[in-house]
Amino acid sequence: MDLYRLKIHELQEMLQRGEVRSREVTESVFRRIDDVEGKVGAFITLMETEGLECAELADRRIEGGKQDGLTGIPLAIKDNMCMKGKRTTCGSRILESYKPPYDGTVIKSLEGHLSVPVGKTNMDEFAMGSSTETSYFGITRNPWDLGRIAGGSSGGSASAVAADECIGALGSDTGGSIRQPAAYCGVVGLKPTYGRVSRFGLVAFASSLDQIGPLTKDVRDCAILLTAISGHDRLDSTSVDIAVEDYVNSLDRDISGLRIGIPKEYFAGGIDPDVEKYVWDAVKELERLGAAYKEVSLSHSEYAIAAYYIIAPAEASSNLARYDGVKYGYRASSPEGLLDMYAKTRSEGFGREVKRRIMLGTYALSAGYYDAYYKKASQVRTLIARDFDEAFKVCDLLLTPTVPAPAFKIGEKTGDPLQMYFTDIFTVPANLVGIPGISVPCGFSKDGLPIGLQLLGRHFDEATLLQAAYAFEQHTDYHLRRPSLDAGRGK
């Protein structure tokens, strides 16, 4: 049996029954990586030695009967989460050899479970990108078509899950960075409510938008992983002290009577016909399962991308100021004085897209422009949030495509940042508003590329999102299809 193909919940049971050992699963995963990683390029750093050591410990714990939800499960971690003593690069030259002196809260939770670290996955530099093409460490390819992008910025985590190079993975989502690559790679990806999962140890891109979340092979796995990382953390002032629901055991709750809103602005045009067809099929499927749908209006949505590309770069310009060559990370050689050291270090250490956004953000916060840009964008953000509040008065969930079209070709949009930014058009509002969103596979294009369905829920109502996604998944088989990497399609 190819153990690497299994899901978290399947392995959980097998480990518990003693049918398999974590060590075997871990070895299987690393053999799979040996086979396909050369084609996919999902990882920046692999952790085979640490992974196998951890698997042994996990096996001992399981033998002792003290198995947690993720004990012994090989997981991949996006390379913007700090792991003590392990290289954490954020896909950037400026942190090429940086090793954090501490564990992030989410990493601590996983370690507490004794889950098995597989490695740190590739990402757009500092999570700034929608295709994992801006990484200093190379491009990650889409396992369904190696000539196409995996999405981003959590492209490494999404493709690692799709290519069975891990059992599950963590990503981070600032404007769609979990959901969008999940859709492109045919896996499940969830962005939790802002404040649900601690950001302590997540290298900040845009602090008011960032959230860590799971990328998994199905919805049940997503619920398991979300349970493990959720909860209040006193080290993160923006994490919220609201009890974590039992996402796993409430999965199969009946969804009949559930009210689903279809935001008309999201279907106004510009959507790929295959995407539109499968998303509507999904609506019909949910209706068959007892849910009711109605059209709603989110009238300020058209300004979401504009507001996002002010707020996120503004926060980023400040968050990334600490990479100055003084304390850690890359420092330019033989600078002439302090200012030259700053300028050279940052010019050489950051890539083009990161520099573009630092400049955008610096501009938006500058004296004389603050009111016109940052402040205005914050006001737009409030209006968008109000739209969602109104919508959630008449429905329990919102349903949209995750992205307007399936994965595009590598290099197709790198010359046109605006076109690239618009791939996040359906995912960005959830970050601006702070609500949870999930992307689940809902079909395949004529070219055989995965299509994602996005569900958005109320603040801290991940349970309802997961229930609807689970019900849909139980009656479809899109999540069961795997890419055939052996055929070696694409370049």
Partner: protein, 496 residues
Amino acid sequence: MECVSCGKCFQLERVINVEFEVIIGLEVHAQLLTKSKIFCSCSTVFGAEPNTHTCPVCLGMPGVLPVLNRKVVDFALRVGLAVHCEIAHYSRFARKNYFYPDLPKGYQISQYELPLAEHGYVEVTTNGKSKRIGVARIHMEEDAGKLLHDERMEADSYSYVDLNRTGVPLIEIVSEPEIRTPEEASEYLKNLRGILQYLEVCDGNMEEGSFRCDANISLRPVGQQRLGTRTELKNMNSFKNVQRALEYEIRRQTNILDDGSEVIQETRLWDAAKGVTLSMRGKEEAHDYRYFPDPDLVPLIIDDDWIEVVRGSLPELPQEKRDRFIKEYQVPEYDAEVLTSSKSLADYYEESVRLFPSPKVVSNWVMGELLRRLKGDDRDIEDCPVTPRYLAKMLKMIEDGTISGKIAKTVFEEMYLSGEDPEKLVREKDLLQLTDEEELDRIIEKVLSGNATEVEDYKKGKSKLLGFFVGQVMKETKGKANPKLVNEILRGRLDR
């Protein structure tokens, strides 16, 4: 003080008041005495090995987040209430962005649009006149680290960064531009520091930088509404330097304006050694700090209960204490002012009065001998070797005639040097007052027989000579003789 025009004659007051009005605003940064830093749990203790009081949070490592120390809010609230500010129920932290090696995150967490407290005042008295100086705002922020420079100062020399101070809590107290003279500025600072010390939120040490002051100063023709161009003065690390720097700057700006030139808006550094201010950076080089609300910290909500708890815990403040001293101890206003100039001095005084309930006598000794001696040694009252208990004991010994008032000065000096019990000192140094009449009689006899001429003169009517005889007896007894007895015996003998 020199004239603002010629720098030679001494008519500063007149010249300024006639021609220009001086507008001064002060910004004070006060380090708060919390045990831990404002956004992490590192210690704030001063003087540790470089970079030992640090953690990933105050080092600004990637991925870390700040968590507000509630104690800092408590301390800042105390100050806000003590200077009669309105407290904001909703305030926010903001990021002040700039690059410098002592600022590990590349931004300082401060408050900008929504500060903790606004619209207060500090009362100052100059030349016998009282005035309220408005406090525009008080906000909380984190301190930066320190740079240590390689002493060689060569091309290959290094600068080192010590981040122990990074994240130590500060409050910034910004005055309204309502200060009109350097004296007022100095008084404002002294009173403000007194308040902070009374509240026990800041040690107020200007030399060590736990109480720092920057000044904004501009001049405008008397009667003009529009403000003149201001300069910002930095690097003044004592009250005296603040006053000197402002005086210099008034002179400098007056000269410029008198010449018909314009003052340039810039930041100037005070050079205490040369006694001048020097340009540091112009308006063009001024930073654009790109303030925006810090998304890592939630808005700070302060409800009435919190404010009332802090208000209830406020100690008696300098002015209240001064008024009480005047009423309760019947000391003159001047004495009350001096005695309440620091909380520790006021405490010292009150404890002494409790043990020796003659407030004016105690006040005379404290304000005289004690403060003179401390000032000479540049010592604080906290380090005074003479405890209130010993001072009171000594005063009792004067009162009951055990020692003479004159000898008491010697006793005090001995106590000051050794910190010993005055009773023990008097015994050991043989300083008891001489009250034995027979013994005094014998000594007086000796003095009179040794000064026969003066005795003759006295008897002829030169009664002033009585003082001379008393002096001789005192000299003979090394000041220990009871002066009252000496007088009586002398008169008895001479006036017979």
